[in-house]
Amino acid sequence: MLKILKYSFFDLVRSRWSYVYFLFYLLLSSVLLFLNNNISNAIITLLNVVIVLVPLIGTIFGVMYYYDSQEFTQLLLAQPIKRKSIFMGQFLGVATSLSLSVLLGLGIPFALYGLFQSNVIFDFLILIVVAVFLSFIFSALAFNIALSNTNKIKGFGYAILLWLFLAVIYDGAFLIALIYFQEYPLDKFTLIATLFNPIDLSRILILLKLDISALLGYTGAIFKDFFGTLFGSLVSFGVLVIWVVLPLWRMVRQAKRKDF
């Protein structure tokens, strides 16, 4: 598996898109830092970008890489290598190269600006951790979609729909549900509904860490009550881990059954 990971990783690191992605983050965070002149504010602005962009790029990149490397996959399948190793290797190649682009693109400007001397280093770390989680989650989901669809157009379509659903539609539906059922106690429901969407979960994790949950009003208080405790953090990280593991488990199962 490590050899496949190595080839996928270097294949991606050499590709133009990884550089574009890296340079985008580099530029964005430098501009934000020098305009804001404040690390905390820059982190909050970045949060809004990262939470939407990382899932989008993760899904598109994952689907694109899978379809692009089908020929190589065919070649590998005839070799004495386990199917699980082939697909896990490719997935890890995509996920780590994406994470690396984010890490370096955000990390370099912040480090130069003096992140290590500031007291918000943990806030920044949580932003990075969330970005890495989202990269892994959405490339795993993308591999699932691509494996289940031989038709590329369909695969891309479902990938975009998935992103649209989790990044935009879910929140809308959630909000409508909250308004519609506002007579009822909704705190438990909101908490649980948040756990089912990795984007929402990541957003709340960062907002709470940044201590601006006051902006969230009543729900913010409940969230703070839940996520603010050690138990809450553990649960939310646990859920993020499940969001990585479940799609991967399905991916491996799918790969084992598929005819190539």
Partner: protein, 235 residues
């Protein structure tokens, strides 16, 4: 060596294989023949674990290949259509497959044999069909495995390379290797195979030596004997 027991395969609503029973003997060259779409490639892919049979079992050296991958270490497989990642060079792909399998290889000998040396630094997408097939041959034969599976090995090869391939395969036969081929070039099949398995409508329609085929069909020419099989079936 290889035993196919009642292999069934269906793609959507298309029954490709409907009960293949076949045994491939060690040290012999077996040709799987059949009209287009008769399931030759599918059968090979099932043997390699790239496709899954809906029913039936395959034994390689008396062990069931289900949920097993290590038996592929002893198989050299030449796929029918050489689909390579286009953006890498010939020598890179050879190095990559060598690295992935980490088994002893004879790639240099084969590169020289198929005159690929001047093309080592060329990207695969810039190669002609015939040269791609040569790269394909080097990639699949370089591990010197005891069991060789060739799916349409002649496609795209010019007459000189075809003779070279035949000579190479004859050498491998002399070394006692087991070979399984599919081809539509009957003269090639006649020259190198000992045993013919003819697949029709998802079943083995004829299984025997070339001589047996000629005597059952009462034809002296191999190509006509095969055509006769098909004709009699449809009559």
């Amino acid at each position: 060596m290889v035993e196919f027991n009642d292999i069934h395969k269906r793609f959507d609503n298309n029954d490709v294989l409907t009960g293949i029973n076949l045994s491939i003997q060690k040290g012999r060259t077996t040709a799987i023949l059949g009209p287009n779409g008769s399931g030759k490639t599918t059968l090979i892919k099932i043997l390699l674990g790239m496709n899954h049979a809906n029913k039936g079992e395959i034994f390689v050296d008396e062990s069931n290949i289900k949920n097993n991958w290590s038996y592929r270490k002893y198989i050299d497989y030449l796929p029918q259509i050489a689909n390579f990642p286009g953006n890498i060079k010939v020598k890179e792909i050879i190095a990559m497959i060598k690295d992935l399998r980490s088994q002893p290889t004879r790639d240099e000998e084969l590169i020289e044999y198929f005159e690929l040396t001047p093309y080592l630094n060329i990207k695969l997408s810039h190669l002609s069909g015939g040269y791609k097939q040569k790269v394909n041959l080097v990639l699949s034969l370089m591990f010197n495995s005891p069991f060789i599976i060739l799916d349409e090995p002649t496609s795209g090869l010019d007459p000189v390379s075809l003779i070279k391939l035949k000579d190479l395969l004859k050498k491998e036969q002399a070394n006692g290797k087991t070979i399984l081929i599919t081809s539509h070039i009957m003269s090639f099949v006649e020259e190198i195979s000992d045993h013919i398995s003819f697949i029709l409508d998802g079943k083995v329609y004829f299984d025997g030596s070339i001589e047996e085929l000629k005597s059952t069909t009462e034809e002296t020419n191999f190509e006509y004997a095969i055509a006769n099989l098909l004709k009699n079936h449809h009559a």
